[in-house]
Point group: D2
Chain length 466, copies 4
């Protein structure tokens, strides 16, 4: 989903059809997708007559308590977790988005961004629609309400044909679950079985947790309706090409998921293999920053023969909030999370493998934390090319100005900014090869600037939205 204007967000979606405890299964499914969004969580469930919804700010485990969940009866459910890096988030923008229409009830949970949201919204408002949120997700429901006279299937196809952008989404009515993936296939979406019913999830690791069985990926452009007659494909939306987000494989998805038909863990190890083929520094050891870069570092170590170490210790009890120290205690934010093992690192030449560098500031302060402890030489290896362009399809990249590789064109300058002796980025081909997918089926826009869907000018923002 997208706010009109920035920021953009990642999300995770989940749905169940035909399980006697659909809300509870969804709760567990969202647990497995929590890495895709920690800001808000929500579930809508129905038993075919009554509909119950609950959403709140925070982690799934914080938003849902037993007394809430035990009241959410029903055999259909959808759920959503949402991520934002800014403070502007509110409950009003939490998902699933829900609406009444006649005797029907619609819930929708959406991962991705529409690119023609503003244009569609203006059109709808002129017809007399009022809006409850600033999310593009709401547009789907308004379009459907408009087209319902053509029946549910007709309304879905007509509505989805009007929107443009990235969406992997699930919808709920009192009788069916609808699942759809945009024709470019930017975000993943998979179908599975559970106890004779059906599950849909952003990533397959959610099936593992609920003991569901992976059946297949939902294809780009595919629209499914699941009801008492089973799963039915009601049509394919067409597009000139596929554009699966390579960043899902490099960073965003969980290593125990299969995404776009590829196992993420192996894919990341391959990134490390290819790094080792391209650049092999003379160092005493290689290590990741926990827990980013773990698997690429492992692959690099295996291929290069350089010893793998875990030279920074992660504090597992930091939690998400802690009191900021005052002047007398500096740089606490970094040190509280990661502490270097001094006796291992002091006086050594080391290689660090990172999965990606966005703004560069986190790497910078981590490196500073290491430098102060007397490391002799630091090589930073990144398992993808420089990230130079923002993403309009649902990954929360800062605007161009905040991307270090957009501000600094030369790798030496980025190295200087971050404070390392050497900085090496994996080549575009090295990255693509590691994914095992065809280059033309991937969205590589954040590295190349070649956007699969042309960008819309969003100059026209109004004062309400920030």
């Amino acid at each position: 989903m997208v706010y009109f204007g920035h920021p953009r967000h990642e999300c995770g979606v989940f749905a169940v059809y035909g399980h006697p405890e659909a809300a509870r299964v969804t709760y567990f499914g969202l647990f497995a997708l929590q890495h895709r969004g920690q800001e808000s969580a929500g579930i809508v469930t129905t038993d075919g007559c009554d509909v119950r919804e609950h959403k709140g700010m925070g982690l799934v485990s914080e938003v849902f308590k037993e007394e809430v969940l035990s009241k959410m009866k029903g055999h259909l459910a959808i759920g959503h977790v949402r991520y934002s890096t800014t403070g502007s988030s509110t409950l009003a923008n939490a998902q699933p988005f829900v609406a009444h229409h006649g005797r029907e009830y619609y819930g929708i949970a959406h991962n991705g961004n529409l690119v023609n949201a503003l244009e569609l919204r203006r059109h709808l408002e002129k017809r007399g629609s009022i809006f409850q949120s600033t999310m593009d997700t709401e547009i789907f429901i308004h379009l459907m309400a408009l087209h319902l006279k053509e029946g549910l299937e007709g309304a879905i196809i007509k509505s989805f044909s009007q929107v443009s952008g990235a969406y992997s989404l699930v919808m709920l009515t009192k009788r069916e679950i609808i699942a759809a993936r945009d024709p470019f296939g930017f975000r993943p979406l998979s179908l599975g079985r559970i106890n004779g019913g059906w599950v849909i999830a952003s990533e397959t690791c959610a099936f593992d947790l609920v003991q569901g069985e992976f059946i297949r990926d939902i294809e780009p452009g595919e629209i499914l309706i699941i009801d008492e007659n089973g799963v039915k494909n009601i049509g394919f939306l067409s597009s000139p090409r596929k554009a699966m987000c390579v960043f899902e494989l490099i960073y965003f998805s969980r290593p125990d998921s299969n995404v776009f038909g590829r196992n993420v863990y192996s894919c990341r190890k391959e990134l490390g293999f290819n790094l080792a083929e391209e650049y092999r520094p003379d160092v005493d050891l290689v290590m990741p920053f926990p827990d980013s870069g773990n698997y690429a570092a492992l692959g690099f170590a295996q291929r290069s023969g350089i010893p793998f170490e875990m030279g920074m210790i992660r504090n597992h009890y930091v939690g998400r909030t802690f009191i900021q120290p005052t002047q007398s205690v500096r740089d606490f934010g970094v040190r509280v999370k990661l502490n270097p093992v001094l006796s291992l690192l002091k006086g050594k030449r080391i290689a660090i493998v990172e999965d990606s560098i966005i703004r560069g500031t986190t790497s910078q302060s981590r490196i500073k934390n290491l430098r102060e402890r007397g490391i002799k030489e630091i090589h930073l290896l990144v398992s993808c090319p420089p990230t130079r362009f923002p993403c309009p399809y649902g990954i929360d990249f800062s605007s161009r100005g905040e991307l270090i590789a957009a501000r600094q064109e030369r790798v030496e300058d980025i190295a200087r900014f971050i404070g390392v002796d050497h900085l090496y980025y994996l080549s575009l081909d090295g990255m693509v090869k590691a994914t095992g997918l065809k280059k033309s089926d991937l969205c590589l826009a954040c590295y190349t600037g070649e956007y699969p869907i042309p960008l819309v000018q969003e100059s026209d923002k109004f004062c309400l939205e920030r």
Copy 2:
């Protein structure tokens, strides 16, 4: 506002135009209106560009904390408190109801019930509107969105002409406050000044608290727009008659308010005077159940010469929730709130004045509590006639079946149910005379069954709404 289906609710509304701390003034105004609704509270404010809203379940003092209120900048604000006697209430139905439309933002706070809500909603849904709540209040906004092409004033008049029922409401846009009272004038609504700006409130006691100055009642059918040019009457909606709710004077409004041009305190004392004229039992003392019936009891004592006492002590610290006792402690609910003064009452013949009897169960358990302490004789005097018909215009009367005076036609039978020796209801004329208003300007439907607006059949309820 009305849920589609039961139950119905009372509410209080407040609005400010042109005060630098509009949200804070609204907060205080809602404090004074808290007796009209304790279930949820909400405020929306704007500075002409940004809009901020906050609502929650509970009392005004619980919903609003300094950190919330201090961020609600703006010189326009509307607020709402809402009352429900059932547990089915949710945050989704809290008011003000708000919506985005183009670059505009609408908030609405409504006291009263529409009687053609379902019909209007069906019509709107057929045109493609989706609904966020089950409140009739939402309909106002949808109608306005539909008619906006005729300009704001046109849209208001066109929209309000379509709705039928009881409404005293305030609306907020980024530039103006709108206030309207339905043409029957069921619920009160008053206009005042504050620091060069304007205030609107359900009752005048709210003006006292914020040190505003009462100007005049908003007339039945009157629609006002307040903007930088001041207060403008944009038209009058017409109706065959007035129908001001007599129950506001008898029970619902605060005694320090002036409502429908009458002081509530004096009006209630007059009810007591008229009671004393009609029925004067031979008793040792007269007392109210605190704090209902206080003023009528005082009037009765003054006119009859029977000594006034405060024979039941109210526990001021009960709070709204406490743990229920188990079997070994019976009837705790009544005794925890009111305890009789034994040495005053034992062996006495007493008269108790109540403002009204609805279901009769509260009176019954209070009387039982007294009886157990050895009162000799109890006369119960009610300051209005038997309440025999439900109210479709915003007072939460139970359905007919729950009204004791509908179930039991003979007063002797009601007396037996409640457990008193004698029961006397004030006559209809005695009540009307005490109000000082013309009988034909009052809604007396709950006593007479003569409804100013014919009732709509709401047989057609669907399973979502309960």
Copy 3:
């Protein structure tokens, strides 16, 4: 209990022996005593083997929730509510105070102040005792631990003989409940029966709520032990005189309680009768400030024939915390609680009856609130003499400097400070006569300065305690 140093506090105590749900009965008992202290609440219960305690800051209904209470099994329990007018209160000073000693467990709940607390504490510390709190209540337990070799009864008598001051207290061991009232009898304490077991409470209104039966007052100096053999008097502590606190009758106790053998409601009406005998101004009406002065005002009206009115309306929903208004909304604190009925009071000459005036500032702002509304003439009648001396026995009177009647010796000057046209205090004899008790059995120190127990110099405060 007393802090070493100021402030002093009022409290309520409750105990149960021999009821299967002793903690639950105590919970309800504390509800009825909540007016004696709203700052903290606590209960300790035992089934003879296990002991369970729970205490917290806030009202009884806030501190105890069903999940807590349902775990507090046992047939013995004691409870405490505590009051403080300052912010220095902490959970560490909440009662009951509890301690382990060998296989025994002691809990104590105390209403009153010791006057030789500091001296005793120093003595105990020299022997090696360590203290957990700054409450004098803790001293009882230390003394008992010291004397336990003489058996429980011996230890109690020896310990209580050493302390000097005001105490009505209840103690719990695993097998018995102990109740004691100091030999002067400053504070009330009553004994009752419940379901074959026993209850003890600061005031008899607590018996009404739990449906217990009042048996008798515990006498000044009396010490009771209640165990499986019933109630046993283990001795009387002697004193030169009785000194029952007159302020309990005038202000502190609930009107539906019997205290010191007198019904509080009648006693307050008598105060009003005597006021009317002494001073009868030429006014249009008499009214109380709700809810202080209610009963004296009623008595005054009945005796004088001046009409009784309820001219200020109390807002029942204020709660204990609300956001302070800023500059633009003045004197909110008073007006939010009490609003005058303008149409009743405007242009009138009125008499107001108050139960007492301590610092005078509350009266002052209430009067100001009335004056601004155009009252013609205000007579303030107080149902006791000027309060000129602080109380060292457990009533939270400000230090002498804060008592308006200590600062201003002439009644005219107090009248001017408060802003009334005339101020009249009931005479000492008028007050004593209304209590129906012997003057020599009452503590009148706050009016006369004659302290039943000579004051101890507390100059010697140390920095920890504030």
Copy 4:
């Protein structure tokens, strides 16, 4: 500290002398020690006159909020985190334990268990002492109060000579910090500098976080007083031998700490080296269960040449509480935390390195989780010998009956219980050699049953304590 009776607990302690924000530094220090105890946290601080304390149940980040911490002024502070595996924990048993004595104030934070606690407590109670808690920690303060007439230093030495068992503790008075380590040196305790002041911590990783400088370990039996004159050794307590807990190195301490003069990370890698020397199975890969066994697994892989993988993915967002699934979702507890990477492990022969096996049930369910995914062969390698005896010195080992290696003497039987094909425990000598310390300086009692301090019979438990 020890409860009288089971269970036993681990803890972490921290102290600061001479830093203007002592409480804040302690807060950060406790963050770094959070792995030693997550049940409760507390800090006491003083500026030499006032003392402020705060403690609560939960993590440091939950117990302390800015508004609390910012009020805790002072340049001396001590802090404590506590761990319990049972639900019987209460706030009354949270540390630091504090007490008033005369004008002085004592706070104490303690890691370890006394073995003569019950005996000392009985003795103190006979003298008249009363106890607030069931913690042995309280005994230190009572002993000191008793001996204070000999001056602070005399009282400390006399008191500490009376206690027997494991203790690394810090105390605070209004003027000094006291630090002591029992003469066996069971638990670690280190001294450091910060900004001209002093810090003391259970582990050196806490110095890293607050940017303090490690100076030296506090020696077994050493007692330090830190005041305005600096650090002063006031004596050494003697013992027949040292007995440093080997489990601190194997499992309990953080890998980035130096404990007993040894770096924990290197020590754990050496355990893996020695494992590889003793047992080298024919497998495809070696992996740890995250995050136990990480470093030993790494050492094993480096020495054996078997590829290191991270075959189970940890869910970082589980939190400490989540709703239990019902019947239809089995074994959720394990799977929600760790999910195997199927495509990596399926059909493989694998070695897993664990740091220790206590009850065996966690390993059992993790292995089951793996087995269900089709692993071909599992070798479980443990980096210490079988844990056959409970620990009375502060590690929460279950009673003998719950230790799998006490119940099952033969390793094959343990392997069968856990469900692995092969199970190998590191030899005692292999473990000792890896620590780099003298065997005779280590406590190995949980492996050998040879207790450095003879066990006291605790048969004599009373009903209060469970």
